[in-house]
């Protein structure tokens, strides 16, 4: 993809976030999609491309009354939406379609109208992980953490600071679920979930949704909102089993997706004004900072503990409060993208003054997949 050739012209979350028992999962998609279409001044007939995850493109297209000529049902976990943006940008740039709607909706807390998450007992994970007692992401995602801590001498206090700093960002955001300040002691005294991780190092469980609309940069100039341009994109997958990842101190999928996006954008780390790293659990920003090359290996814990990513720090990270404090419906990637778009539009609750480039990095499954999008707001 040529940097700056495609732009986001519509972006919105569901009107409400949190506990939404009166909406089923597909309606959360629709609520966000209708908000995004209103944001862009478009109707369903104006959309000719649909991308979504978990729900299928045919479900979303039919429900919203869209007749697409391009669809993408990539469903690789919470970073699926970064990958949809990448695929949509390529599709628009090559003329397969003109205007793409990417939707996410998830009744993660109320669990209304969502399919159950099951691991088939004949799958490799069903045979070689499930019999040993994992139960969902909180029991699996932190499995590499002790190896990472031992390898680099990272402390429990440093990882606790991830949650403390993100709560500081959340305090600035009226839509964040948790806004009261917390301390390292609060984190390390919260209920044990899966040692070494306690409750405040695990994401929220909420209901919500979000949607994005993309079109060519040329057409984007005619839309009501300030266009947010796509400068670079990357994606990869590694393994559906966390026990089989190559390196427990680093994600191979991160190391492919991140640098691919930086190369495509033609930028350096010094150019980045704002950063989102999908934080389903407190170690993910550490892996992300290192695997994307923002800090040397083993340095991310110290970097965060020294407040470099906190309000007032040199690298504002997860400025909506993140999955730890803002919201997390299960597939958080869409909310990270929404915050990058808000920052690039200049309308974020915790706006980074003068921000011109935002990097948005997602994870899917338990280090199974990754997608990175680099946004810019300067007209090409």
């Amino acid at each position: 993809m040529t940097p700056n050739s495609v732009a986001i012209v519509g972006a919105a979350e569901t009107t409400r976030l949190g506990t939404i028992p009166d909406m089923s999962q597909i309606q959360l998609h629709a609520d966000a999609a209708l908000n995004a279409m209103a944001d862009a001044g478009l109707k369903p007939a104006d959309i000719d491309g649909v991308a979504t995850a978990v729900e299928t493109p045919q479900q979303i297209a039919h429900y919203l009354g869209i007749t697409p000529s391009w669809v993408d049902g990539t469903s690789v976990g919470g970073c699926s939406f970064m990958i949809h943006v990448r695929h949509a940008a390529a599709a628009i740039a090559s003329g397969l379609c003109k205007t793409v709607l990417v939707t996410h909706g998830e009744s993660g807390k109320s669990r209304v109208g969502n399919p159950p998450r099951t691991v088939p007992p004949s799958s490799l994970a069903g045979q070689f992980e499930q019999p040993f007692g994992p139960m969902g992401p909180p029991s699996l995602f932190p499995i590499p953490v002790l190896r990472y801590m031992k390898t680099y001498g990272v402390t429990h206090e440093q990882i606790a600071m991830v949650a403390v700093v993100q709560r500081e960002w959340a305090a600035k955001n009226p839509r964040a679920t948790f806004r009261d300040p917390i301390t390292v002691e609060d984190v390390l005294n919260s209920r044990m979930i899966a040692y070494p991780f306690r409750l405040l190092q695990c994401c929220l469980v909420t209901d919500g949704g979000g949607a994005l609309i993309l079109t060519s940069a040329e057409r984007a100039r005619d839309f009501p909102r300030k266009p947010v341009y796509i400068l670079g994109t990357g994606e990869s997958v590694e393994t559906p089993m966390v026990s089989q990842m190559e390196d427990f101190t680093s994600s191979r999928a991160f190391r492919v997706a991140g640098p691919t996006a930086f190369r495509e954008a033609g930028i350096t780390h010094e150019d980045v004004d704002h950063l989102m790293i999908y934080d389903a659990f407190a170690h993910l920003p550490l892996y992300g900072l290192e695997d994307l090359g923002f800090v040397p290996r083993g340095e991310a814990g110290r970097f965060i503990a020294e407040r470099n990513t906190a309000p007032g720090g040199k690298l504002p990270l997860n400025t909506n409060g993140g999955g730890l404090s803002y919201m997390h419906s299960g597939m958080y990637g869409m909310y990270a993208l929404q915050e990058s778009v808000r920052q690039m539009r200049g309308i974020a609750p915790a706006q980074v003054a003068g921000a011109k480039i935002s990097v948005c990095h997602g994870v899917g499954g338990m280090f199974a997949a990754s997608g990175t999008i680099i946004f810019g707001n300067e007209r090409p």
Binding site: V119, P120, P121, S122, L124, G126, Q127, F128, E129, Q130, P131, F132, G133, P134, M135, P138, S139, L140, P142, I143, P144, V145, L146, R147, K150, R191, M192, I193, A194, Y195, P196, F197, M241, S243, Q244, F248
Partner: protein
């Protein structure tokens, strides 16, 4: 009412040799005849060089504790807290397992401690490869 059991693996044609092995008291891995790569989980070809010429062999059953969590929530077949561990096998691959025969605490579960396989029969078909601290 019987206690709910832990998740039971369902072997496939490609993994049957592994489950036949644990039932016979062997931890069976595969080695590529072409490039000598030892790999896990089972499949009838080499994930490093794509050769279909691979051999099943009985591993030593020895390894070390690579990483783990101690899970504190209730799961059918388990009494929390219990460790969900990844074992570094001496032959190279890693596999998920549980650690038996020692306290399920950070103090008792030191990373890199030597382990040996301890087979636990689930039923007539399935025996699971668990691990315990190595003797001596």
């Amino acid at each position: 009412m019987p206690e709910p059991a832990r998740a039971r693996p369902q072997p496939t044609p490609e993994t049957q040799h592994f489950w036949d092995g644990t039932r016979a008291g062997e931890l069976r891995l595969q080695r590529c005849d072409a490039c000598a790569k030892v790999y896990f989980p089972p499949r009838p070809f080499c994930p490093a060089c794509a050769s279909r010429s691979v051999s099943v062999f009985a591993a030593s059953g020895r390894g070390s504790l690579y990483s783990y969590v101690i899970h504190h929530r209730k799961v059918p077949g388990f009494t929390p807290p219990y460790a969900i561990a990844v074992v570094q096998l001496d032959e190279g691959p890693r596999m998920m397992s549980n650690i038996t025969g020692c306290a399920q605490t950070p103090e008792a579960l030191a990373l890199d401690m030597p382990l040996e396989v301890a087979f636990e029969k689930l039923d007539d078909e399935i025996t699971l490869p668990l691990f315990r601290p190595a003797k001596g």
